[in-house]
């Protein structure tokens, strides 16, 4: 599979179709925790991508801050009719969270809606050291 950046993807014909279907932007906030949401995990790498045939486009790559958060990740999404009961269209993205000190990798599918902010919690448990995981 080819992996390309969002900037490289913008130079392709596929981008024109994609942006026609996704003219608005949705915002994504990622919060990474451990210990039943009580401890944020910083320096978790978060990658937002989407597959187009055999090409994977990387829309965002970054690290969580000391609060375990990456906020306001802007992603193309379909327009949403606000204050209506229509079922809104959305575009799915792959969210991958990587932290070698915890579960290493967690993956989610995130639906993005135009002009809507979405929050995705990522819950990780610490990697257990087999030799020190038993009681005295």
């Amino acid at each position: 599979m080819n992996v390309v950046s969002y900037e490289e993807f913008k130079n392709t014909l596929e981008y024109e179709n994609f942006i026609k279907d996704n003219p608005n932007m949705g915002l994504l906030k990622v919060q990474v925790f451990t210990a039943y949401n009580s401890i944020p995990i910083e320096n978790t790498e978060v990658v937002i991508s989407k597959d187009f045939g055999d090409t994977k486009v990387i829309f965002f790559r970054g690290l969580t801050d000391s609060s375990g958060i990456i906020d306001n990740i802007s992603l193309p999404a379909p327009a949403v009719n606000i204050s209506s009961y229509e079922v809104p269209e959305y575009t799915l993205y792959d969210l991958t969270a990587i932290n070698v000190l915890y579960e290493f990798i967690k993956q989610y599918l995130v639906g993005m809606f135009g002009d809507v902010k979405v929050i995705q919690y990522v819950k990780m448990t610490p990697k257990v050291n087999e030799e020190s995981s038993y009681g005295n």
């Binding site: 949401n37 949403v80 009961y85 229509e86 809104p88 902010k117 979405v118 995705q120």
Partner: protein, 126 residues
């Protein structure tokens, strides 16, 4: 001294399937449970008053299950299921909508009662 109103639990134990299915139980903060349910049963583009009405109904429904020990009185070791056939739609790892999340934070601790009853009203919004 007798407690005059139900205490909102910090956490709720959700069975990830139908009551008799061999599924996991998970324990999550009560407000997170409501954000999850609300983000699955309604959409963020709905009018704000509709979102508020739904959230109040979802809180009341869940509290009714806890207050009446609906499942525990039948021998189960959980408070509520994730199945919308029996309870409210819950999906582990579901994304939330910020607008709905803010409404849950605003209404958290409120619920619907009928007449002068103490128990949270068993209600759904269609």
């Amino acid at each position: 001294m007798a407690i005059r109103r139900p205490i909102i639990p910090n956490e709720i134990i959700v069975h990830l399937g139908e009551p008799d299915s061999a599924a996991r139980n998970i324990s999550i903060p009560f407000d997170e449970y409501i954000k999850n349910v609300a983000s699955g049963e309604i959409y963020p583009n709905w009018p704000l008053d509709s979102i508020k009405a739904n959230v109040l109904a979802q809180i009341s429904f869940a509290l009714n299950r806890v207050y009446n020990e609906w499942y525990r009185s039948k021998g189960y070791d959980f408070d509520i299921t994730s199945s919308s056939v029996y309870d409210q739609s819950f999906s582990e790892n579901r994304q939330f909508f910020e607008k709905i999340s803010q409404v849950v934070d605003e209404f958290f601790n409120d619920y619907i009662v009928k007449d002068n009853q103490i128990q949270p009203f068993f209600c759904t919004v269609l």
